[in-house]
């Protein structure tokens, strides 16, 4: 047998290697086969009868589970648009790249899409880490990214369109709901425990929530972060039980949500004792863990699959016909889908695929599209966000989220929190 000592060393090195791979949420299985370049045209964008766009989501790694349905939604929108005549008379072809749940790979693939494939626009990214990595790339190459996931705000890049909510369209209304509806167990004020994944979105969102504290008067009894992909939440759950919290504000992303909900139930906790308000888990996450674990907990989004409008039902039907009857949709899926339509409207209004022209039209506030969540419009001005209605819903036994509260009108985006005095006094947004 070989020398055990050197073997152990090798094994540990290997372990650390894997660790570094896991730490960045990377999954090196992004082999060429997985990265699957699907392009139906190899010419530069908008030549001949086609215009080329890029899809940039994780097809492997810890975020693949959440991002796969968004790729499908974008493809569905593209196919629909192509079937009804395309954009400015051109058919859309797409190049789909795998970000592999790794911010560095996202940046690399974005560069490839913009410089080599020369795409007219990119639809993609989920984690803020990946968006932050892609941001300098789209700004440097004058590209245009349609970003479809709720995030921490405090950003408005000239080259990004945000079809998803910023904090004043999700987190802040959710806190309003908590203040109105969560009854403190032990009298006094509501006690909140902040629990999220350890990266920019959860940390910034929680910084915003902490800045709200003096104004709203709730009490923050704990704040914990776990690395992406972490599987054991028992210690944090002990801390939560110990803290006497009334509600957990959950900003965990990806797989760890499953561990959290399973172990939350497992510790004997129920929504009646300690409620959970999730910002970054949606119907797809519930399907992946089993509805019995999330039953009765709260979710804040701008759309639920269960929302009972003809457009919403039609979208769900189409999506399930295409990708399987057990598929679910949800806010991020719909945001990904409507990004394509908003881009189409903007291109048509600009009568050009030129990025600057398209952005100019978007900033005019005249771009709106019929979507599963109703009419969605891009706010005028340089925020590059959309107007969004906010829903709070309760997960049911079938894995659907039923709305229990909603804002009356669509909320104007305020990514820099300019309309909040507490944000100013906390030094946010400036």
């Amino acid at each position: 047998m070989k020398n055990l000592r050197s073997l152990s060393l090798v094994a540990l090195t290997a372990a650390v290697l894997t660790m570094s791979a896991c730490g960045s949420g990377a999954d090196t299985s992004s082999s060429p086969a997985a990265a699957g370049e699907q392009t139906s045209a190899s010419e530069p964008a908008e030549t001949g009868d086609t215009v080329k766009v890029g899809i940039l989501h994780s097809q492997s790694g810890t975020m693949a589970m959440a991002e796969k349905p968004m790729i499908e939604a974008v493809q569905m929108a593209i196919d629909e648009i192509n079937a009804s005549g395309g954009v400015l008379g051109k058919q859309i072809s797409y190049v789909s790249e795998d970000g592999a749940s790794d911010a560095a790979i996202f940046a690399e693939k974005a560069t490839k899409l913009l410089t080599k494939d020369n795409v007219a626009t990119i639809f993609g990214c989920w984690t803020s880490a990946s968006r932050k990595a892609v941001l300098p790339v789209v700004e440097g190459n004058n590209g245009l990214l349609w970003y479809p996931v709720q995030y921490e705000g405090l950003e408005s890049s000239h080259n990004i369109m945000y079809t998803a909510p910023c904090p004043n369209q999700q987190a802040i209304p959710a806190l309003d709901y908590i203040m109105e509806n969560i009854k403190p167990k032990s009298g006094g004020t509501v006690k909140i425990f902040l629990f999220g994944s350890d990266y920019v979105y959860p940390r910034t969102t929680n910084t915003i929530i902490k800045a709200m504290q003096p104004d709203y008067g709730f009490e923050i009894v704990g704040e914990e972060y776990i690395p992406l992909g972490y599987t054991d939440c028992s210690t944090v759950i002990t801390k939560i039980q110990q803290s006497g919290a009334d509600i957990i504000v959950n900003t965990i992303n990806g797989d760890s949500n499953v561990s959290f909900f399973k172990q939350y139930r497992d510790a004997g906790l129920k929504p009646e004792d300690i409620q959970v308000m999730s910002f970054s888990a949606y119907e797809e996450d519930i399907r992946g863990m089993g509805p019995e674990y999330s039953d009765g907990t709260l979710f804040a989004w701008n759309y639920f699959q269960s929302i009972d409008t003809p457009e919403s039902k039609e979208f769900t039907d189409k999506f399930q016909t295409l990708y399987g009857s057990d598929k679910v949709t949800g806010d991020p899926v719909v945001n990904a889908y409507e990004g394509v339509y908003l881009w189409k409207k903007a291109v048509e209004a600009a009568n050009s695929f030129d990025v600057e022209e398209v952005i100019k039209v978007c900033e005019s506030g005249s771009v709106e599209a019929e979507t599963p969540e109703g009419v969605v419009s891009i706010a005028s001005g340089d925020t590059h966000h959309c107007l969004q209605k906010v829903f709070i819903g309760v997960a049911d036994k079938d894995g659907q989220i039923q709305s229990v509260w909603e804002t009356q009108d669509r909320v104007e985006p305020d990514p820099w929190l300019k309309s909040y005095t507490w944000a100013e006094s906390a030094g946010l947004g400036s």
Binding site: K2, T62, A64, T231, T235, Q263
Partner: protein, 302 residues
């Protein structure tokens, strides 16, 4: 007091999961010197086997409220992963004996292939496995401290698996042969032990136990193509700290990392807790480079 009990229980529970994940690794690593990076994927295969068995059971006996399928899951997970292990051993791994670095790279590649295979078959999304109803009950010890049925079950399962492996290694002829091959392969071979057969059986059994671990973690964590990655690092750490090829070492390693991790995490944060447990491992290896319980061997090349 509650708090100490809760944390101790959390720690033991983490230890038991680690132990299950590392048991198979300990024997394959110990016997064959194969650094099996695909061990995590065997855990994943076990979890997916549980998923398949559950769905088949539910479609064949839709009315049955019995939890017996759950035993089937365990047994199926063991045999399916054992067979996958056996095939891999015969096809690939047996060519790599004595080449630790090569085995590292090759099994890393195998792990990627297995992940992608599962992704192609079941899709990249997580799947859900429901735990049997009788495990949903918790034992309330004090006001705040409840012992979860699932965690108690995993703890018991780890004990049973350890006992089974110990019985196999120390009470059967096959186990004696395996230990002989472990200590001095050439000598064992010249005394008539079929070392190739030993390798095959050990690798299959080691893989099978990974399958059982996979089945157990479906209670507590996500089931997706990449779950193996979440456990492989800790499993290796357990084996290396405890000492290669010793069950008692594996148990000690799992306890140190399993109880230490949550304890550090409790006083700091999850990310920092992980760093601190790595520091502890480095310190242990400074003083005990072969792990806490190292195997003494008279083999010349040791």
């Amino acid at each position: 007091m509650d708090l100490i009990l809760m944390q101790l229980f959390n720690g033991l529970s983490v230890s038991s999961i680690l132990l299950l994940a590392a048991l198979g690794l300990a024997i394959t690593f110990g016997l064959m010197g194969i650094i099996n990076m695909a061990h995590g994927e065997f855990i994943m295969i076990g979890a997916y086997t549980a998923y398949v068995v559950q769905n088949v059971w539910k479609s064949v006996f839709p009315e049955s409220s019995s939890d017996i399928y759950f035993l089937l899951e365990m047994i199926a997970a063991f045999f399916v992963t054992a067979i996958v292990g056996l095939i891999l051993e015969r096809l690939i791994i047996r060519h790599l004996y004595g080449r630790a670095l090569d085995s590292l790279l090759v099994t890393w590649g195998i792990s990627l292939v297995l992940q992608q295979a599962v992704r192609s078959i079941f899709g990249p999304a997580n799947v859900s496995v429901s735990a049997p109803a009788f495990l949903d009950k918790n034992i309330q010890v004090t006001g705040m401290f409840a012992m979860s049925g699932k965690r108690l079950f995993i703890l018991a399962l780890a004990v049973v698996c350890c006992t089974l492996i110990a019985l196999m290694m120390y009470k059967t002829k096959q186990g004696r042969n395996i230990r002989a091959a472990m200590q001095n392969r050439d000598m064992a071979a010249s005394l008539g032990v079929n070392t190739a057969k030993c390798d095959m059986i050990t690798f299959a059994v080691g893989s099978g136990f990974a399958g059982i671990a996979g089945c157990a973690i479906t209670f507590l964590g996500p089931i997706g193509p990449t779950i193996g990655q979440s456990y492989i690092v800790d499993a290796f750490m357990t084996v290396v700290v405890g000492g290669v090829g010793k069950i008692i070492g594996c148990i000690t390693g799992a306890t140190i990392i399993g109880v230490g991790g949550p304890t550090f995490e409790f006083f700091t944060s999850a990310s920092l807790g992980k760093v601190m447990i790595f520091i502890v491992v480095i310190i242990i290896l400074q003083f005990k480079p072969k792990g806490i319980f190292s195997m003494h061997s008279r083999a010349l090349d040791d």
